[in-house]
Subunit: 284 residues, 2 copies
């Protein structure tokens, strides 16, 4: 997905929110805004939004010296999500369709996104997502592929969301590689949080090598790209991964909540809709 004009004010808003979270020093925040403003004219509009996101969050790290401004908020989100884990596991087990319930929960977890300027209420969002209509719903082809798959790559998104991903991965009951970002960017999951959440107990956890809030293949590690290409099935969580993989030639199952108007327009859905989309690559 390319960068849309709407993304540009959003980059500045994100830079400001992250800068305020990283520092109380108004001079540093102003420097970040100055530099982010000057960056606008240099953004190649054909590149995906997470590529610019990477530059924005690197700028914040460079100016403030804080390479993980959302650390304490991430920890709060993870602790909160972990406190829900046992109850949600029971709901999955007791439901008519445990796999679908786990998928719904994994999408519900996608609201824990600090890159978006919206408040979220995870408990409320879980209840809504458990009954919401899907704007895209490719469950049948998912089940067919899942039956046949012997290797699954699951690309994680936000940190707290990882708890919900864990529930889905447990339900898949297949060998899974779970990929995280290489470094903290927004509140995205890294290997450290995947360990903390216990994903390492149920999947092979690797870094994708990505320093962006998405999966930009040309900047990912060779190991990750190999797994991406060879896995029988790829599950991609969230907006940033969708933005960077929506033009991929390979078959991917995207699970996300459409949290901004640009994504909603690109998917031809409404903001707030939940998406479970089988992206049919050209390689099959």
């Amino acid at each position: 997905m390319k960068t849309y004009l709407e993304c540009i004010p959003c980059f500045i808003n994100q830079a400001f929110r992250a800068a305020k979270t990283a520092t109380d020093d108004d001079n540093k925040i102003k420097i970040i805004l100055d530099k982010a403003g000057a960056m606008i004219s240099t953004i190649p509009m054909e590149q995906t939004p997470p590529e610019t996101g990477a530059d924005i969050y690197k700028l914040i790290s460079d100016v403030t010296g804080d390479n993980d401004p959302y650390y304490s908020i991430k920890q709060k989100n993870i602790t909160h999500a972990l406190s829900l884990y046992a109850g949600l596991k029971k709901r999955v087990e007791n439901s008519n369709d445990p796999l679908l319930t786990a998928i719904r929960l994994a999408i519900a977890g996608n609201v824990i996104d600090l890159g978006i300027d919206r408040q979220f209420d995870i408990e409320k969002d879980i209840e809504n997502t458990l009954i919401a209509d899907f704007a895209e719903f490719d469950y049948d082809s998912f089940k067919t592929r899942l039956d046949q798959a012997e290797s699954i790559l699951y690309i994680g998104d936000n940190s707290g969301e990882g708890v919900f991903d864990r529930i889905l991965i447990e339900q898949l009951n297949k060998p899974v590689v779970f990929a995280t970002r290489e470094i903290p960017v927004i509140n995205d999951i890294t290997v450290i949080e995947a360990e903390q959440i216990g994903i390492t107990k149920i999947a092979k956890v690797i870094s994708s090598g990505s320093k962006a809030p998405g999966t930009i293949l040309k900047k990912c590690s060779r190991d990750f790209v190999g797994i991406f290409e060879r896995s029988d099935m790829v599950i991609s969580k969230g907006q940033g991964n969708y933005e960077s993989l929506s033009d991929s030639k390979r078959d991917i199952f995207f699970m996300l909540k459409a949290k901004c108007s640009v994504i909603a327009k690109h998917l031809n859905v409404n903001v707030g809709d939940i998406i479970f989309k089988h992206h049919k690559g050209t390689e099959i």
Copy 2:
């Protein structure tokens, strides 16, 4: 009031919204975003936000050739407000305190602001504002000054809001000079809209000379500044006028709705609060 860091992303958001309204040409919108981004580092933070606002809206006019992007929306707002005029006049006349009801309506009209990224529903806002608690309420001193005043300067703000200002001016029952902006900026009122609304029938209408969405005295006409200094009483409507006159040495009655967090913080009120504030200048 100085420019706060929060104002900077807001300038970019405003530039984008106004650019999209002025043109469908994505290249021109991108040029506006590039230039607005580059402007960030040049903004003197000690200057008031409307001074930068003037530069932003001039940029849009320069790049698109459209010096009044909100023209048709303004016309729609004015037509809508005029359709409410007779009914609102009756409500004022039938109320226990017609002057106060007219003041409440004049503040309700202040929601018709296209510089702010919020939807508004004028009918609903009228009903809310007629019963809302004031966060600042200097009605007694207003009545005392009004009794004694023989000349009143009333500084208008948005175009559709002018219909509500007309109702209040009629209720003041004193000689009023109504000041507008010199040129269209956001959806602010100019002499043309004041005529259209019929304010010319009940007050002397003048341009303040301001090309900014506020009243920056050093850039206003000499005539206006003379009237500002010599009038027995000054009524200032809305945020832009508050932002540019809050440090004035003269006595001013501010009437506005706090529509953003920066204004709310500056006034020590909550976003959405209604304000009727006697700013006591140093000259008295």
